[in-house]
Symmetry: C2
């Protein structure tokens, strides 16, 4: 990656998802890479950090997660809205050149096979905690976050800095049918109150 | 409630949470009401709609959920930021008049004991799907949404209308330490693309 790609303290990794962004889920197995979009991803624990994500049985990415035991949750930016919608609506089953046709660029971090999507604002490398009942009954996967990174132009010192970054860095929050909201203005309350 | 309090089609109830807002969780058991804040709530399924929410073992609200088998997930507004932070940081264990001191006003809907917090933008009445392993190991509760409502000044015809409502209606997205973001501008992509 580049000089703005910086590690995030695992104890603060939950903050990358706390505001509820729509995410991209990537995985790799047996030489096959894929990326999907997921609105249903959520922090589950602080330390060690854990996340939940819903992966439908029809998703090719789910097979890669089950095969490899790893996935990456990453936070796409407003600049990636079209890409996010496209990886969420096209299937690798139907379109073997899905990623290339959408222009998704992947990167690897030493020690991990699961690929990172370039241009995102944050990445959480997750190891699947095997919970067959949840996976089968609810399509619900639990992952332990084993490493995390963010782009320091928009997340630094353990905090999002959306208010001081270009609006193109804002997180996306999906509703339906190609409609997202970008994250908006800061609201700060008296934390002693 | 009031004339703006309108039922939401259960098949579209997931849209009330899809953009990842911080929520309030309320419950009632044996005559005790409580409300807490939760950043870790998420849609889990469309039809029948289900949700996940993380309820820490130290939360009094968790006991009320376990005792009654019901909880309400509601979406607070930017106007309720201070209230949201206060119900999330004060405990009914320490402060028996917690709700009154914060100014939380509750309402009931016929047929349900779990209370709704007035002034929110949306409400999901949830019945606990008993999953003892998830509850014990991960503090993770799964609920089936059995009824849903929204304030039609900000959610109507199955869609959020933040862009056409007063900014005080915007959802809150918590980061840490009294810092939230409000939801921001609409981002619409070519859904055929």
């Amino acid at each position: 990656m580049h000089s703005h790609f910086q590690p995030v303290d695992l104890k603060k990794a939950y903050r990358l998802l706390n505001h509820g962004p729509t995410v991209l889920v990537s995985a790799s197995h047996d030489g096959v890479d894929n990326v999907m979009a997921a609105a249903w991803a959520c922090a589950l624990d602080f330390d060690p950090p854990k996340v939940t994500v819903v992966l439908d049985k029809i998703a090719r990415t789910r097979q890669l997660v089950e095969g490899s035991g790893y996935f990456v949750i990453q936070v796409p930016t407003a600049a990636q809205a079209q890409l996010t919608h496209q990886v969420g609506t096209r299937s690798l089953f139907d379109q073997p050149d899905k990623l290339a046709s959408i222009g998704v660029q992947l990167a690897r971090v030493e020690g991990y096979t699961a690929p990172l999507v370039q241009g995102c604002s944050a990445w959480l490398m997750c190891r699947v905690i095997d919970e067959p009942h949840n996976q089968h009954t609810y399509d619900l996967f639990i992952g332990e976050v084993v490493a995390a990174w963010a782009d320091d132009r928009v997340f630094r010192d353990g905090h999002w800095a959306y208010e001081n970054a270009d609006p193109q860095w804002r997180s996306l929050h999906y509703v339906a049918g190609g409609h997202f909201y970008a994250i908006g203005e800061a609201v700060v309350v008296d934390s002693q109150g």
